[in-house]
Each structure stands twice: as C-alpha cells, then as structure tokens.
Subunit: 207 residues, 4 copies
DNA sequence: CATGAATGAGAATTCATTCAT
DNA sequence: TATGAATGAATTCTCATTCAT
C-alpha cells in the first residue's frame, strides 16, 4: 500500500523483520540522543547487537535506516491511535475522545515523535514523499472524524475549515513533544489536553 | 541583552558585522537547500564570497555559523513583527491584526523560518538555550497582547489559557512554512489567515 | 607493567601487534628524517603500506604513534641490553662490560635513539610520564649494577654517587648518537668506548 | 664572525636589534611552554607587543625566530660563562671553578637551555650548522682550559681524552636542565656540582 | 548468513605569510 | 614603519560502505 520497499540481501523475511525491528529500536534511541547525522552506522550496529557487516545485509544505506525509523514510528502512532479511537461514540464527543487519545499517544511516544519530527527532513528527495504521505494520513484521520460529525449536522464546517482544524489538531498534539521544554513545565498532560480541547472547540473567545 | 558572543579574530567591529551578514545570507540559502549538516564550510565561504581562511577569521566553528543564522532570523522576524504591530488599535481587533501580520512575516521569510525550524536543534547544548529563549520571546509577544485584552475585559482567559493560545498562534504561523507542501496547495495565504483566525477565535464549534 | 594502553578499533590482538610494528617501523624512519611535526599521518600510512583509514583503525591520534614509537624503542634498547649483560661476570669487570654493551646498542640503534631523544618531549602531559619512567628504568639498570659492586666492597660510593654515575653512563651513551656530528668524526665506537670507560672509571685525573 | 645574517625590511639597525630582543624574549617563553611547532607566529607577535605585520618586518620566516632564539641563548650562555671564568686562577683549580660556574649558568638559564636543547633540531639544514658550531665553541672553552693544564704538566691527557672530557662536562651541565625531572628531585645544585666534580675528576673508582 | 578489517573521499580547522592601507 | 585582514595549502581525523573469509 504505497510503502517504499527497502531491499535486503537476506532472503528470510521473518529474519529481516526481526533484525530491522532491533535496528529501528536502537536507532531511535541513538537519534533521539545525538540526531541522525551525529549517529554512526557503527553505533547503530553495535546498539542493535550485530556487526556492521550484518547491518548492511539488511539495508543498503544509512538513509534506509532513517526511513525505516520514520516508517515504523508512523505505523506505531497510527496503530495506537486507531486502537484507542475505534468504534466508540461518535459526534463531537467522539472527536474530543480522539483528540485526547491522540495527545496521550504523543505523550507516550515522545522520543519517537521527536525523532520523526526532527530528522524526517534529512530523508532524500526520493524517500521524503512517503513520509509526508504518512503525515497526511494522520491528518486525514481527524478530517474524516470531523467530516462525519458535520454530515450528522452537529458541526457546520466547510471542507477547508475541516482541513485546517485537522492540521491544527495534529500539530498541537506534536507540539506537546517538540515544545516540551516550555509546555511540560507549565502543564500536566491532562491540563494541556483540557485547555487545548477548549481552545480547539471554542477558540479564544470561547463561551 | 543576553546574546551569546561569538568571538572573532578580526578587530574591526563594523567589518565583522558586515562580513557576518554576508555569511549568514549565504548560509541560510545553503542550509535551506541541503540542511546544516550537508553544507560544508567551504561552500559557505565560497557563497559568501571569501576564502575559507577568511571565514574562520569571523567565526570559531561551523556551529557558530548556525548560531548566527538562527540569531539573525529571530531578530529579523521579531523586528518585522514589531514594526507591523506597533501602537495601532488594541482589543480583539489588535490581536487579529497582529496574527495576520505575523502570518505575513512567516510567509515572507519562509526560507529563513524553515531553516531555523529544522536546524536549530543541531545547536550544541551551550547555544540552544539562547535560541529557545528567543522562541519564548516570540510567544511572549502574543501573550502580552492577549493579556491586555483580557485586562480590558474584552476576553475572559486564565493565564494558562493565554499561554496555550499564544503557543498555538505561534506554531500555526510556523506551520504555514513547515507544512507548506500540504497547506500551500490548499490555501492562499489570505485564505489560510482567514480560516485560522476563525479557528483561533471561535474554534471548531465556531460562531 | 604500567604501560599506557592505546585503544584500537580492531579486535584481533595479533593483528594489532603486527600492524603497529609496521607503523612504528615506518614512523621511526620518517621521524628520523623530518621529525615528528613535519611528518604527516598520511605519510606514515603510506610508508606503512596501508591507507589512512586503516592507520586510524589502530590508533586514535597522531600522538599515539609517537607514544608507540617511543615505547617500542625503549623496549628494544632494554631488551638488547639485558640480553648482552645477563649473568656474566660481576664486579667492576661486569660494569665495564655492561657499559660497552650499552654503547654498542646505542650505536646499533642510532636512528631510534635519536628519534626518541628528540621527539619524546612532544608527547602530551598524559603520555610523557610513561616515557620518563622508562628512561629512569634504564638508569636503574646501571644503578643496580653499581650497587652490587659497592656491596661486594670493590667500590666505595654513596647512593647519590651511584645515581650520578648511572645518569652519566646513560647520557654519555646517548651522546654518542645525539652528538654524532662531532663525536663520530673524531672517534670510532671502540675508541669512544675505551676513552669514556677510562673517564668514567678514573676521571680526568685518572691514573 | 661566521654568524648567519637574518635580513630585515627595516633599515634602522638599532630598531632591529631592540625589536628582535623583544621577539626572542617572548619566543623563548612560548617555546618553553609549548615548543616551537605548537607556537604560532601570531602568538609570538602578540607576546612581543607588536602586530603580525610588524613581526614580519624583522624576520623572513618563523624559522628565523628559532635561529635568533638559539643564537641569542648561546651568546648569553657564553657571555656569562666567560665573565665568570675570566683570568682567575689556572690549574686544576681553575677547571673546577669553570665547571662550577658553568653549572651555575645552566641552572640560571634553565628555560633557555631547555628550549635550545629541544628545538634546535627543528632548524633547517641551512641554519643548523651555525648552531652546532656554537655548541662546539662551548666545548672548545673547556678543551682549551684542560689543554693549558696539561701543558703545565698538572694533568696527563691526550688530545682525544681532552675532547671527550670537554664533551662530558658540557652535557653533564646540560643534563642538569634536561633531566631536571629526575635530578632536581635528588640533588640541590650544590650537591650536584660537588658530586659531578668528583666523578669528572676522579671517576667511579674515585680518589 | 555473519563478521570485521580495509578503504579513501571528504570535512573542519589551522596558520605562515602577504600586501593594501 | 606599522597594521591587521585576507589567503589557501596543508593537516588531522571521520565514517559510510565494501568484500574476503
């Protein structure tokens, strides 16, 4: 489904998957600490528990690792989000629930979100679109949610308004991590969630 | 006022300023294209119009350049913003005006904002605080604006609500640049401004 | 035994030893010709028969090479000296024999001694003590030799006199190399040895 | 008298002399601390109290400074030594006096001696001979002294023995500085002088 | 499949020296 | 004479990637 294929010299698909998971885990931790450029492939291999030679059996280049990392994080975020939202109540209530759940995911996956946020731009022109696509899919989740509520007549928003709102939700969630140095000094996650729900729903002038 | 001093081997202060401006201009353009890490000091020197030796007469290390770039961009943004806001009408109207002006600045300085946004995190632990401080000052501008309106009784917001609103304004403005690949396909700047003003003031449930 | 460990990225200890021997050999020859500071790491790599990258798999910095060189030379000198002295006759005769052997070693290892003599001082404050310690050990060999003879009643020297004599022996031996430009024009090694034995044992006034 | 001429762009001989003295003084201090290679011309200029441009009005290259330094030190040592020895008593007594005086000069000029000792070898093939010549002149002083005493019949030494003895005196004096890390822990200058006089005159087998 | 030694292009930085003012 | 800004060749060290075992 539109994923970029990263070739491997190894045939055993199961093994590829397992090794890559180890790699990604190690890499996230290292990227978080030192950033993509300051992390060496040797360090990643070592932290992954195998040799540099083996590392290159499962990827072609250092950039592949970054791609796998971003890919994996998006999948993780999306998976958790979909689990937390699923069927449940719809209407405005459902949107609020989704936002709260999303903020919770951002909080739980802070390190990953940060890495994705800061390093994705280092991807080559070839790989970047795949990641931006994921970012849009993320936004689309909230667009759809809002769209349903509009359809039910509970909200009155144009399509462009829906899009703007969805983008806002997404980055205000991410902001919790990439502005943690400011926000997490002022608010607890619960406070932040309450305040932002208020702002998102009612605005500054809000009732 | 709390700026980090970057030492130079050259004594003539005027010259330092002039050369550094050339450097920063060249660097912004290169960083935008290839990012900080993929840009070499030689490229910066060349694009600045002087030799590598001369470059190092005005800075101590590559990181100094990044710091000067970030510093310069913040100053630029803030300067323009303050010019555009100045005395003028207060009240909610004033806030709206300020937000519009801010979005306009973001649009005009897209390249710079993008660079600052993506590369600032590469600053060392020593220099980073200076830049984060600037980011907070940016936010503080809107906090103060809102605070005045609250004082005048036109808005009813707690301090924490003011802070959240200010952060939202700032990053929704920045989002116009760092999500340009999505947003600028959907909206013109005017549309974006109108829609986001609506969202910020009245929220999803909006009037 | 109190050696400074020089870390390597390579795991195979045997290989490390072999490669470092090649490196040291090449470095001695280059240092002798141009001195430590005028010799580049690339030259050392090339003369050693491997690439610059490989060189740095076996050392951390250029200074490590100098340390390895000094270390190796001292070990070489000491080893040869101990082989030449071993059990043999004791008494004054033994001392004379040892001095002659030592002078012979100095003569055989002129290049090495010269390098060690002239470049050791370029070692960092961290590494220098290890080399000075070796120099003292060298001196201690002669101190012990003299001490035994004193104990046997054949010589009458205080401890401080023993130390002075030992230092004199050591540097008069080294002088053969570092004043070669003067001495080796006047004397053959045999002459030098005879004359200096005379001076050392009986002094200027000597019988 | 066989000195190497170092050209200058400046005409005023008095000025040249004065500036060069300042330069040499600054350089000795810096060389002692960091060695010739690790000292930059900028540092020397600064420590001398003039600009880098001015520095190069009085020398042609960095090496010229080293030559001037060595030259100046030798002249200084020789001057002091000749003052201390002059007419005075002759015979063995005179030799002893000269040695003591020489050791005292070495002690007083430790920094200079050390620099000369360790850095002279960095001189180019062109300049080195001039310095070695000075070293020989130093030795010649003691050769002459000894020669006179031999002539007077108070000592019985061949020419080669005289030369060896003179070399020994010179380097045992220098050793006081370049092995200070060992010797100056054990002896005071007076002790060292007494012990070495004893060794030099009567040898290990002593009186 | 796994290993890790070897490679060398490339990057940041330094510093002796020059020359216009 | 004095100054100090400009220069760029030279140097150390890094690190992604390969390939023989």
């Amino acid at each position: 489904m539109g994923k970029k294929e990263v070739p491997s010299l190894v045939k055993d698909e199961k093994l590829i998957q397992r090794r890559r998971e180890e790699m990604v885990k190690a890499a996230v931790s290292l990227f978080k600490e030192n950033g993509f450029h300051r992390t060496t492939t040797r360090e990643i291999a070592k932290a992954s528990g195998f040799s540099i030679g083996t590392l290159y059996e499962y990827i072609r280049s250092k950039e592949d690792i970054l791609y796998l990392v971003c890919d994996s994080i998006y999948d993780g975020v999306k998976l958790r989000l979909q689990q937390d939202i699923n069927g449940e109540d719809s209407g405005i209530q459902g949107v609020e629930r989704a936002i709260s759940a999303y903020f919770k995911v951002m909080d739980d996956m802070q390190d990953e979100v940060l890495v994705m946020y800061q390093e994705a731009k280092s991807l080559s022109h070839e790989a970047l679109p795949y990641v931006l696509k994921k970012e849009l899919e993320m936004t689309a989740i909230f667009e759809e949610l809002l769209f349903k509520v509009v359809k039910q007549g509970e909200l009155h928003l144009s399509e462009k308004e829906i899009q703007a709102a969805a983008h806002n939700i997404v980055i205000i969630g991410q902001m919790w991590t990439f502005r943690r140095w400011a926000l997490q000094k002022i608010y607890t996650l619960e406070e932040y969630t309450q305040l932002q729900l208020q702002q998102l729903l009612y605005g500054i002038k809000g009732a």
